[in-house]
Symmetry: C2
Subunit: 306 residues, 2 copies
């Protein structure tokens, strides 16, 4: 970084490709403050994790984060500093730098983060539109913790000891940056991060690639605590894993023959492992999650536009 | 641009230096919607103008803008599209590209823009901290329209025909990108854009550079309508020019000997002209605006921190 916080703009030395995403979280919409809900530090961590997760999904290397905060009346300076400190901690863990920001008054706590990543060439990056019929579908880590935690926080499921691991995990999502780069290097054809939920996000890959992602509900890797919460909700556990947002794992499609190299590449990162959850078919573009004894869950995806 | 809206992140080919600023505007804080106040298109224009103005103040070339929108209940899709269309129009005029964004629900209209600019080398950019004793202080365009417009909109001054030009100008601020590059090329030692008001922003240069910016109130270029509104407020007109924010002109310091080349360089842009408004002295770091018959206005500036 040549010039950081304190001038009109930050200045950094660039690498050949600049990869940028912007994400906003708003109190009352994406999180609640206080009580059992989030504290300021958690909001800072989650906002940056979500922004960096988009870079992970491209296979980019994390660069800089620019943080715009809208602070409501009653939100203290200590809370604001705790929020930024948590984001700075995550930045340090992931090799990112908080290089600039803006602080304004707002009617509710709002945090927008523009995350900038870098790559050397287009071939190092993975888009959504490259999935091929016959590809294996993989997912990193475990799913469903965020949906389970939400059910507990909203009082739809009891705060039992069994639910605690899901709550803990949902409070501290990990952007899968190393895994994203490893998957890009191992030849993933298409990749997305799970911010809206596996079925929806896999549907985006399907729609962008013109293929059907056929996912086997029984193969979904469940985070600790998900089965307990699902039982309390009288739901099959896979539904929390397939539909819940904000798990921030990566879903990707890769040649079936490359599954071994992908597993080795992920192991080498020391990070999350992989589960193989289905196959790319030539049905209607989108995503279908099939489970024995249930109707399949079908998501068409949608086109982003404005 | 290699990859735009619709994947996890946008991808653009970089140039050697990446110059980035992030700015937020919130309804009820930075603007009001409806009636005589702003409409959606004006909000889109002003938000992007403010973000690009920071790039102008560095002497950077405009690159991409990433737009995060928080939309309140009752804000229609047509309004959202008008907001984006106005930003897209300004982007086209200035050579910028809206390359990504996010849209969420929010309790009030909020818009955060991360503006990314580019430069070939650090020498092409101008910081705040290079002002030297003896430098001439220049400002582009005219000042005070935004403060005059605010006084009218808040009902502190009448909506007289004489005030109309200030209102019109305040609704459509122009980021001085060409002027910023020309000033950087002509050897400006320090530069800032006027978002908080001339005295405050010049105070930032003074504090960052360890010098006193001595400004002559009588030399301030007044925008059309400012004198009329000032009279209605029983204020000396220079006060609106010195204190009002959001004029988005550029204030800069340059060797006294370079005034001729600076004037020619600005003329060559076909954009705003220059007024010479003072000189850099060795007094206490900050900015002092002196006017005959009044106490001087003194701003120390402050350090940005978090």
């Amino acid at each position: 970084m040549i010039l950081g916080v304190g001038d009109d703009a930050a200045v950094v030395r660039a690498r050949p490709l600049c990869v940028t995403s912007i994400d906003t979280m708003v109190e009352g919409v994406h999180f609640h403050l206080g009580g059992d809900w989030a504290d300021a530090a958690e909001v800072g961590h989650r906002a940056l994790a979500g922004a960096l997760s988009d870079l992970a999904a491209m296979g980019a290397e994390a660069g800089e984060a620019y943080v715009a905060l809208g602070l409501p009346k009653g939100f203290t300076e200590d809370e604001a500093l705790a929020l930024i400190a948590a984001a700075a901690d995550l930045a340090e863990e992931t090799g990112a730098t908080i290089a600039g920001g803006d602080v304004v008054a707002a009617p509710a706590l709002m945090i927008t983060i523009a995350a900038v990543g870098w790559a050397e060439s287009p071939e190092q990056l993975v888009r959504r539109d490259g999935a091929k019929v016959g590809d294996a579908i993989g997912v990193t880590g475990e799913l469903g913790a965020a949906a389970a935690a939400l059910a507990v926080l909203e009082g739809r499921a009891p705060r039992s000891p069994g639910a605690q691991p899901a709550l803990a995990r949902a409070r501290q999502p990990v952007p899968r940056l190393r895994e994203g780069r490893a998957l890009a290097g191992a030849g993933a054809h298409a990749m997305i991060d799970l911010s809206d939920g596996l079925a929806t996000d896999a549907g985006h890959i399907g729609r962008a690639s013109g293929v059907e992602l056929c996912i086997d509900a029984a193969a979904l890797p469940l985070a600790a605590g998900v089965a307990e919460v699902a039982a309390a909700l009288s739901l099959e556990p896979w539904r929390l894993a397939a539909v819940g947002g904000e798990d921030y794992e990566l879903c990707f499609c890769v040649s079936s023959a490359e599954r071994g190299p992908v597993e080795r590449a992920l192991t080498a990162t020391g990070g999350a492992g992989v589960s193989w959850i289905g196959e790319v078919g030539e049905g209607a573009p989108g995503c279908t999650v099939s489970a024995e004894g249930s109707d399949p869950l079908r998501v068409e995806g949608f086109e982003h536009r404005w």
